[in-house]
Structures are given as C-alpha cells and as structure tokens.
Amino acid sequence: MASTIVQLTVNGQDAEFLAKPGTTLLMALRENLGLTAAKRGCAQGTCGTCDVIVDGRVVPSCLIPVETIVGAAVETLEGLADGNALSPLQAAFVEGFATQCGFCTPGMLMSATALLAENPAPTRGDVVRAISGNVCRCTGYEAIVDAILDGAARARAASTAAAD
C-alpha cells in the first residue's frame, strides 16, 4: 500500500504530511508533527493518556488511523496555552498539585477541556464521568477532580469578566 498525503488542522494551523499505511493519529502527532504531549501508554485505547480532541470530541488518538480523518480539526495539549499564559484548567492543575509523574496529565487535560466546552458548570459527578477513561496511577484522582472543578470556575469567571 502506498503512503497518503494527509491534511489536518492541528491547534488551528494547517498541517500536511505523508503518512504510511496504518499510521495512527498518535504516531502522526508525535512523529510527523513533533507534538509529543499526547503519550503512548497502553496503545489499545484504555488508559487515556493519548487523548486529543477531534472535531470537538475527545478520542484516544492511538486508535484512530490518521488517513480516516483527513480534514479534521485536531486539538492537542500544545494548543491549550496562549504563549506562556496557561489555560484556566492548566493553571488549576498546577496550583492544585494535580500532577505527580505527569504521564496521565495530557489526557486528563484534554478530557477536561472537552467537558468544559460542552458543560461549563459541571458537577463533581460530571467530572468523574468525563475522566473515567483516563487512568492515573499516582494521585488517587482527588486532586485532579478538584482541579477540574476549580478550572471550570476560573473559566466561568474569566468569561464573565470578558463579557463585562
């Protein structure tokens, strides 16, 4: 089989590259585009550390053959911060000590980002459900759930301030 030219919009920018057959979205991000925030954990869609947002939905990028999503809009962790200014969720993770080894953090942040895009005022139960596909081995989840609720509050406060 021949390689294919794949076009995507990644974090708002056009990306075009040559993908070998069977290249997953995760491999394309890490190897073709040099975006290494999404991690290869289980490589079978169960740990969530490769999660990215494709056309508004959070997906495990290790399971997506990249040639099947030509033209899609992909958001990765690299796109969350505005220069050095962290997103409200990222700031809440840092200040709430919601990372330890950090391996699950990229997926946690993308799952949480997708949740807040859909539901800016989630309950604790909503947060738990949103990250139930993301495995963390260090924190015991408590600090992560707290940080997502805090990040949601920060984002709401920021959008209220912007509207005023």
Binding site: R129, I131, T139
Partner: protein
C-alpha cells in the same frame, strides 16, 4: 439482604532508608557564571517530587531564592553516587547530602563576597532575595549574579560544594539484639469506613481518615498529595488489583491493561488527611520519608472494617466479592 457498614483502623511504623551494606547518597553543587546553583545528582525523580524538595533544601541552606536552584538528575553514569530513590529514603538521604553540599558552597560564596565588598566573611548574611549583604547595612551588598561573575572572571574561584550522606551499616549487638537499622521512623494511622453488600459481596470504601507523623513536612502540599495517592493505591491493593482474578484457572486470567482491575475516579473514598510534625533530629530540616508507607495502613484498616461490618475475616488480598461471599457462607454454616 443488606448493606452492612463497618469501621476499622490500622497503624504503621515505617523505617526511613535501608540497612544492607551502608546507605549513601552524594550530591555536588556549583554556581554557573550567572549565579544559578546547579545540584548534580544521580537520584531519580519519577514524580514523587524529590527535585522540588532538594531544591528547597539547597535554597534554604544557601539563603537564595528557589528560582536560582537547578536540579540536574540527568545521568547515573556521570553523577555522584546515589543508592536510588526507594526505601522511602530520597528526602532524608539526598536532602541531607544536598544540605551538606550547599553549606560548603555557601561558605565559599561568602568568601567571594567578602573579597568583593572588602569586609570580613563572618559579618555577611544572605537576605533570601539573592543579595549577600553586610549585617546591619543596607548599602554594602552584592547580588549573587555579580558575585558569580566576579568568582569566575576576577577571583578565579569555583563556588561549589560536596555533600556525602552515609548511613553506615548497623550490626545487631549479639547480647541484646539492639541495632540502628534506619535513621528514623515515620508513623501513621488509617481509619476506613466501608459498606459490604451481603448479596453481591462488593465492598465499597466510603470514608478514609489518615494521620501521618513525618518529621517536618518539607513541602506540605506534596506530602498531602503523597498521602492521598498512597491511600488510593492501598484501596486498589485491598479491593481490586491481582493478576489472578479468575482462580483457579489461569487460562481465564487477564492478558493486558484493559483487563487489570484498578479503582477509577468514581471509586474514590471521601478522604481526610492530617499531617503531624515532630522534626527528626537527623532529618534534612527535620524531614522523614513517607513514600512507601502511604499504601500500607489502608489495607489492614479495610480488612478490619469488613470484619466489623459482616464478621468475615479476609486473609488474602484483594478482598474480592467471591471471598466475602464464601466467608459469609462459612459464617452461616457455622451458625446453623
């Protein structure tokens, strides 16, 4: 059929470090031309926060802001020796070595400053913001960045220090059995409240309370994080994790991640954790290690809570629904 509630507790005393052939960690520290103090270690930070804690120790000892400390754990081939980050030893052993190295470097830093300011080094102090100043004077001072430049390009000196912390091997006294195998011990107690469903055998941990005596908590937020994460691992060992869940036939066992049971964010107990501080005389600024012990006491606390709830004494981990139901059957048979 009922949901039965129970409460159990367990306590743990845990040694800091180990006693095989002596337990050393070493550290080197030096100033770059820009006044950044680089700590070189072979010790590994795999998320427990060692780099943060030793940077704090160095900043405190040098009298400089934390931002001026850079921790380099890049290479165990070229770095000074460390036994490793295990045995709850990192904070204590590496912290002590870093403090020792920083003390030596501080002495040289003050000597270089004394020459620049033309005063006696004994009359100098650090202000914590990056200045070395003459005690009682606001004018006579020099910033560590200028100091580092002077050391390198004028005075031809290296502002550096060596730290060697060794806990020697302790042999027992034959007559009494007395020995000192660890430098200090941390202590903790966990109370678990569970609900046992006597129809399904499922155990749910509703609440967990942890109290830790850990010497001084060098970074209270990270210490709290370690307690919560460790308690979660304890719950995970107690109720979920095993590679042989379908005993007795291994052929039905799990083959990969997706079939290995662990609690997720929805299985969390409401957790309350308290830190008690009684600084250890031989600890870095009084700190002890709590890395491993945080996963220990939750397990027997849950086992005791299950016994309190339904009378079943589980004796092997994990406490699966099957074991609970077999235990309940045995109780019914015994009481019949």
């Amino acid at each position: 059929m009922a949901r039965l509630r129970g409460r159990g507790f367990a306590a743990v005393n845990y040694p800091t470090g180990m006693n095989l052939g002596g337990d050393p960690s070493q550290a080197l520290i030096h100033s770059t031309t820009t006044g950044t103090f680089v700590i070189t270690l072979s010790s590994v930070d795999l998320g427990q926060g060692l780099k943060t804690v030793v940077a704090q120790c160095a900043a405190e000892t040098l009298g400089l802001p934390l931002e001026m400390i850079l921790v380099d754990t890049a290479d165990t081939d070229t770095g000074p020796h460390c036994m490793g980050t295990f045995a709850s030893r990192g904070t204590h052993r590496v912290g002590n070595a870093v403090i020792m190295a920083a003390r030596e470097a501080r002495e040289i830093m003050l000597e270089v400053a004394a020459e620049e300011l033309e005063v006696d080094a004994a009359d100098l102090e650090t202000d914590g913001t990056g200045f070395i100043k003459l005690k009682g004077s606001e004018e006579k001072k020099i910033h560590v960045v200028d100091l580092a430049l002077a050391a390198h390009f004028k005075q031809g000196k290296t502002i550096s220090g060596r730290g060697i912390f060794l806990k020697p091997k302790s042999e027992p006294v034959p007559e009494t059995g007395e020995m000192d195998p660890d430098s200090c011990q941390a202590h903790a107690c966990t109370v678990a409240e569970v609900e046992v469903d006597d129809e399904t055998g499922i155990v749910e941990v509703l609440n967990m309370y942890n109290v830790y005596e850990m010497g001084r908590a060098l970074n209270p937020a990270m210490a709290h994080q370690q307690i919560v994460g460790g308690a979660w691992m304890g719950i995970s060992h107690a109720l979920f994790e095993t590679t042989e869940p379908y005993y007795p036939d291994r052929a039905h066992g799990p083959t990969d991640y997706s079939e290995y049971l662990m609690p997720g964010p929805a299985d969390l107990a409401a957790m309350e954790s308290v830190i008690l501080e009684r600084p250890a005389a031989n600890g870095p600024y009084g700190g002890k290690g709590i890395g491993e012990m945080t996963a220990n006491s939750p397990i027997p606390a849950i086992a005791n809570a299950i016994y309190d709830a339904c009378g079943v004494r589980v004796e092997s981990m994990p406490f699966t629904p099957e074991k609970i139901l077999r235990g309940l059957d045995a109780l019914r048979t015994a009481n019949a």
